[in-house]
């Protein structure tokens, strides 16, 4: 085993005979000549996010902070989703009234397969790409929770929406470095274009993705 390691490292060093011995990685210049901060804010930022989500066939619902539970319930009813699993940390006012809510205290894949949907929060979101980011912490829930059930309803607050990809990646740094958080980027429902490049949704992950954007009336 370590023989393989030594041999590969030796091959690499011998292949790099043209690299000066004193060169450090940082001596190879990398220019960051690209956008690292978004230009939109407020209502136009939220609008961009909603447009991009719809582009990839996610359903978008808007709610004021007081209406979230009702908006989630309405989405469940529309999808005939009678039971939902939620992260135990999900705040009570985001839980849908009138729908069977099961806390994920270590549900198995088979148990989740019998539940219609999942309701979660997220760590952050990206407007430019219509992306939700779940990081396994708190209201994001475990990875399996948003993977096995057929429907995923994700709640995003306006202050969680970044403009562009670099802002979101930077924002995740601490959770990854400190907690080793497992991160999943979700952009629209599961899809495949493997047959004649014709897009089909719901291959293995959730078939439906509903995003509830929470913003006060001023931002909407």
């Amino acid at each position: 085993m370590s023989a393989a390691r030594d041999e590969i490292l030796r091959r690499i060093r011998s292949a790099l005979g043209d690299v000066p011995t004193g060169e450090r990685p940082d001596d190879v210049p990398v220019s960051r000549d690209y956008q690292r901060q978004g230009e939109l804010a407020g209502a136009p930022l939220i609008q961009r996010f909603a447009d991009r989500l719809r582009d990839y066939d996610a359903e978008v619902r808007r709610a004021s902070p007081g209406e979230v539970g009702a908006a989630v319930a309405a989405a469940c009813v529309a999808m005939q989703c009678r039971s939902v699993a939620v992260p135990p940390a999900l705040r009570s006012e985001w839980r849908p009234p009138g729908i069977r809510v099961i806390d994920d205290e270590g549900l198995t894949a088979h148990e989740l397969d019998e539940i219609d949907g999942a309701v979660t929060g997220c760590a952050s979101a990206i407007a430019e790409t219509g992306t939700l980011i779940i990081d396994g912490q708190g209201e994001s829930g475990r990875r399996i929770l948003t993977l096995v059930p057929d429907h995923h309803i994700c709640i995003v607050t306006a202050d969680q929406i970044h403009g562009v990809v670099p802002e979101a990646v930077a924002g995740l740094g601490p959770a990854v470095r400190v907690q080793g958080a497992p991160v999943t980027l979700v952009s629209g429902p599961s899809a495949s274009s493997d047959i004649e490049l014709s897009r089909v949704e719901g291959v293995h992950g959730p078939r439906h993705l509903v995003v509830v954007i929470v913003a006060g009336p001023a931002a909407v």
Binding site: R11, P25, V30, L172, T184, V203
Partner: protein, 508 residues
């Protein structure tokens, strides 16, 4: 093309590219499927790339980061190993395909599993992991829809992103009806119905899987984070549901820092599936208690990559992030498809990567599978100068075969002709004498101002195109007459320009 044995993968052993291409070109169904697919994705890519005003800046950063990694690959791999270990993972090193396959098979066997679920991985295609597992009595289920199609039909992939691009819906319907026990009797050829049949087939396998195998798109040296970028959710299933996860990566997949993902997570989806972002990207760091696999193994594979690294011009091929944009724009790939390349990596990137991975001993015809038009370089998100590498590989191939011919004591007619041409082109007097001779000699061949058929071994050139005859006056003649003799020089305008200087341009 269902003969897996005929395809030599990274080190090819099958027919040469021209032989295989001739067969592919005769298959009109294949050409139709390919033409449709490559043109569709080409247009979509151009649209989403145009949306980003900073695309060129991202490309340059993507290239430069890879250059930094490759010039210090040993340091980054050692850092990655330490980070993965710190996060609770186990790192293995594999010098070649056999060693990689043995490591994975031993791990699977140690857990007593006879089945594994597998998400798409080109590196394990390259090492032929599935066949090696089968020899140990382990069934590897491919879970990407296209890979499943390929596996069920005992076929080989023909495209990096959409491996079953050469098949149409009717062919896939027939395959599923024949091979999937759960497929309904009245299965239609609607892609939705076909995907549903695959979902039903794979669902139970996912939920019961104990060992999962995945490839790796990026591995972050400073955090030990490993990522899989995908669309269907099968990658998430394979990396989340099993108790044990084994991820296999080529050693060039390492990137320096977490923040560098900001570059590649923009470059890859737009170049690959032509989306602003692919549906799912999983990024995990070792193991997380109570969430996902509780045992994680990362296998670092060389299998010829250090041969590529040793090539100073060719090294940049290791920048590749496997997006497949170069395949979709290539006029050669769009007509022949992937099988003709006889390699895990088809298209322009395969034409440079395959011969270098195998140490230039095989695949000598691949660097010629290109018209050097440069479209691949233009779309490459990490700026691999594929035409430049192709030309360098042709130079090496010629040097290699010339040496071999010398050993045999005989040059081929092509080598002899090229050598003679080289002498003529490097000497003005010989060159002009040859032009004069050519003008006299071409007389009987010219019909209506064009040469439509050349004799003997030159006929190959005119079998697909007409040739413009040598002009009565060459540029040199004109220059002498107009610029050197009388000093009453008039500015050169394009319409004054004579027909041409060299041996006459081809006309398509």
């Amino acid at each position: 093309m269902t003969d897996a044995a005929g395809h030599g993968w990274a080190g090819r052993a099958g027919p040469s590219f021209p032989e295989a291409a001739k067969l592919a070109l005769a298959d009109s169904q294949l050409r139709h499927n390919l033409g449709h697919a490559t043109h569709t994705i080409r247009a979509k890519r151009a649209e989403v790339v145009a949306e980003l005003p900073d695309w060129e800046g991202l490309r340059e950063a993507g290239r430069a980061l890879k250059e930094r990694v490759l010039r210090h690959l040993d340091e980054y791999l050692v850092e990655l190993e330490a980070s993965v270990r710190r996060a609770g993972g186990v790192v293995h090193w594999a010098r070649d395909a056999a060693e990689c396959n043995r490591i994975v098979a031993d791990l699977v066997a140690a857990h007593g599993a006879s089945e594994v679920v597998k998400s798409k991985s080109l590196t394990t295609e390259e090492t032929k992991l599935n066949e090696a597992l089968a020899e140990r009595g382990i069934t590897a289920w491919e879970t990407d829809l296209a890979q499943l199609i390929i596996q069920l039909d005992h076929d080989v992939p023909s495209h990096i992103l959409v491996p079953a691009i050469h098949k149409n819906r009717a062919q896939i319907r027939e395959l599923f009806a024949r091979t999937l026990p759960q497929a309904p009797a009245d299965l239609s050829d609607d892609p939705r119905a076909l995907a549903e049949a695959a979902r039903l087939h794979l669902r139970k396998l996912f939920l019961d899987a104990r060992v999962g195998i995945s490839g790796v798109n990026f591995a972050v040296a400073d955090t030990g984070t490993v990522s899989v970028v995908e669309s269907e959710g099968n990658g998430r299933m394979c990396t989340t549901l099993p108790d044990v996860l084994i991820s296999v990566m080529g050693i060039e997949k390492v990137i320096p820092a977490w923040e560098d993902l900001e570059v590649y997570l923009q470059l890859l989806p737009r170049s690959s599936t032509a989306e602003r972002m692919n549906p799912y990207t999983s990024l995990w760091t070792g193991v997380t208690e109570g969430d996902g696999p509780q045992e994680f193994h990362l296998v670092l594979v060389d299998n010829g990559r250090t041969n590529v690294l040793a090539q100073q011009i060719g090294r940049q091929a290791l920048n590749c992030i496997r997006c497949s944009a170069c395949l979709n724009v290539c006029p050669v790939y769009a007509r022949t498809g992937g099988h003709a390349y006889g390699s895990t990596y088809p298209g322009p990137i395969g034409a440079i990567l395959t011969p270098m991975l195998s140490g230039m001993t095989e695949a000598g015809s691949l660097p010629y599978a290109s018209s050097l038009c440069g479209a691949c370089y233009e779309v490459c998100p990490v700026k691999i100068d594929i035409p430049r590498v192709l030309v360098d590989l042709r130079r090496q191939e010629v040097a290699h075969s010339t040496r071999a011919a010398r050993v045999r004591g005989r040059l081929s007619p092509e080598h002899a002709a090229m050598r003679a041409l080289g002498r003529v082109f490097s000497n003005r007097r010989l060159y002009e004498a040859a032009q004069r001779a050519g003008r006299l000699g071409q007389g009987p061949l010219v019909r209506d101002g064009m040469i439509r058929r050349l004799p003997g071994p030159l006929s190959g050139w005119t079998s697909m195109r007409d040739l413009t005859p040598l002009p009565r006056q060459t540029f040199r003649d004109w220059w002498r007459a107009n610029r050197l003799a009388g000093e009453s020089a008039t500015p050169i305008r394009m319409r004054d320009r004579p027909g041409g200087d060299l041996a006459g341009g081809g006309r398509p």
